[in-house]
Structure formats: C-alpha cells, structure tokens
Symmetry: C2
C-alpha cells in the first residue's frame, strides 16, 4: 500500500506492528513478518529499535494505553460544573473501553508488561479529575484504581467472550455495551460512599 521506498521510522514500524496485531493476532507478530510488511529485512528493524522486540511491544502499549481522562479545558477559565464529573467519567470510560477492544490483541501486553509510564499517565489524570470533583487525595487514588481496574478488567472479559462466540451460537446473547455501562455506573455510584 505504501510506496516501497518510504523511509523506515520508529513510528512507521510501530504502526505496522499494530496493524498486524489487530488483523492477525499477537501470536503472529514476528520480526520477520514485520520486516516483510515493511518491505525490509527483519534485521533492519533493530537499527530503529535497539532493544528489539521488547521495545516494539512497549511501543504498542504506549500507543494504546495512554488515554488521559483530563477534563476538556473550560472555554473561558470557568471551572467545570461540579456535578459533571460522573458524566465525564462515563464518556471517558466508554472511549477507553472502545480503544481497548479495537486493539484487543494488545490487552494481554497492557496487563502484563511493566511499562510504567503508559498507565501512569492515565491513572494520574483519573485521580486529577476526582480531585477536582472534590474527593480527598486518598479517595481519589482509590477511586482512580477502582475505575481503571474495572474498565480494563471488563474489557478483557468482553474480548474473551466475543472472541470465543461462534457467529451462529445463539446461547446467551449479551448486550456488552449496556452491561459495561451499567457496571461503570455501579462503580461511579459506589464512589460516593468514599470518605
């Protein structure tokens, strides 16, 4: 698809790798296959990612995991309405879930590999949203982990279930969109009980 002599860059390598994972699964992401897709020998990749496949996988995580929940900057310096935080976290949760499911092959990496920066940014911004909503520091920290844990965990359950379902399998057709939203509402309602 791309011109054969487009220069090899770190970004292009990671984008192509993500494309392979989304299309064929994590198990088929191979340095040799990645080289083929880039029209280059596999060994050329090491010039741009010296740490090799480790660095490649970390790049995939960073690309998928970092979706801050930062409040959209208020238009004219006004504070966001205090009651908005639940609606805001609902829409952030929906967006984050959608991204995780779009790149379901990266999910196991996201949960496993110690790539501290990737999730740290997201956690910090969740905490900040809760603090601006009036929660104390300790409650904001607990709440951020509760929300992120739920969103990631539920996305993983969904990815498992929908991947396993054969298209003609009529048993237990679950409305995952609704179930995720309902569960997120449970978590958000529970946050009100924090000290």
């Amino acid at each position: 698809m791309t011109s054969p002599r487009e220069p090899l860059t770190r970004d292009r390598i990671i984008d192509t790798a993500l494309h392979i994972v989304d299309g064929q699964g994590l198990g088929r992401l191979t340095m040799r296959r990645l080289g083929d897709a880039l029209q280059v020998e596999a060994m050329a990749i090491y010039h741009h990612l010296p740490r090799g496949k480790e660095e490649l996988l970390d790049g995939l995580i960073a690309h998928v995991a970092a979706l801050p929940a930062a409040w959209p900057r208020p238009a004219n310096g006004t504070r966001p309405a205090a009651g908005d935080w639940r609606a805001h976290l609902r829409s952030w949760g929906g967006a984050y879930r959608a991204r995780l499911l779009d790149h379901a092959g990266v999910l196991p990496l996201l949960m496993t590999r110690r790539n501290p920066t990737a999730l740290a940014e997201t956690t910090a911004s969740l905490r900040e949203v809760l603090r601006m909503a009036g929660f104390l520091d300790a409650a904001a920290a607990t709440g951020a982990h509760t929300i992120l844990g739920y969103v990631i965990g539920h996305a993983a359950l969904e990815a498992r279930a929908t991947a396993a379902r054969r298209p003609d399998d009529p048993e237990e057709a679950v409305d995952w969109d609704h179930r995720f939203a309902a569960g997120l509402d449970v978590v958000l309602a529970g946050l009100l009980t924090l000290p």
Copy 2:
C-alpha cells in the same frame, strides 16, 4: 524432588508447568524445559496432551481461574442471613485476588484465551450469590460481571506495579491490600443502586 520413575500424568504435567510459570515466568515455559523438569523427553508430553501447548495453557487457566463464590452450605438448612452477602463477597474477592497474584504469570492467559468453561463457573456462582441476596436476574448478571471485572483488572494492575518496583524504590509505596479492599467496597456499595 520426585522419584525419577513416577508415572507421567496430565495432572503432574500441569502442576509442573504451573511451578515453572510461577518461578520463572510464562516466557520460560517451554515444552523442552517442561520435559526436563519431568525427567522426560519433551515429545512424551504430547501423548498426554494431544493438543500440545494449547492444551497445556488451557490446563493452567482451569487450575487458576475456577474459584466459585458459592455460599458455604448453611449448617441446618437455614438460609444464610440476607445481610451477609457483602461480607461474603468481600472475603471471596480477597481469596480470588490472592490466588491470581500467586499465579500472576497465568493472568495474561486468563484474560486472553477463550477457555469458556474456566470463568463461566465463577461468573455463574457470583450471579447465584447475588440472586440469593435478592437481586433480580438482570442486576445479578451485571453485578457479577462488575465484580469479576474489577477483581481481575485490579489484580492485573497490582501485578504490573509490584513486578516493576525495584526493592529499593521508595517512590509511592502503595498499600495494595488496603487499596484493593477499598475499591471492592466501592463496587459492593454501588451494587445497592441497581434496580
């Protein structure tokens, strides 16, 4: 440790594999290394697990994932006290989290592989506990997924964070026990808002 001529069985293979994963990580679980640990050629394993490594990994999941939340059968036919369900789920959540963290290397498999029976049993028993506590069917289904999603997701966040932390790293010492319990309480409190 075991006698060299102990017979090779499916259970012994899976136990030994789990031991390797717990001790050295999932990446070092190899058919050849597993054969060494069993004092047997790698190819002998295929005789007991015809589907090979696929079947081995499914066996690991089944061993770790299936922890039903079933209520301990009441002593003399009495129903468990209706108010007990939160305490019961709190203690079940603690036990499930502990098991997941004990076998953190299996976590990515648990979240990724389509081994329907493994988590189905746990989900069903969570649903049953909620139904016995008085929740309607739809609410029990939502609640079960919310709880399980939170527990698994939070365990994964913990496993990541604690694996990454160097022992002398003083930054941000988190009390994960407390944080998990507080988050689970958030979820359980939120369940009360379900219709």
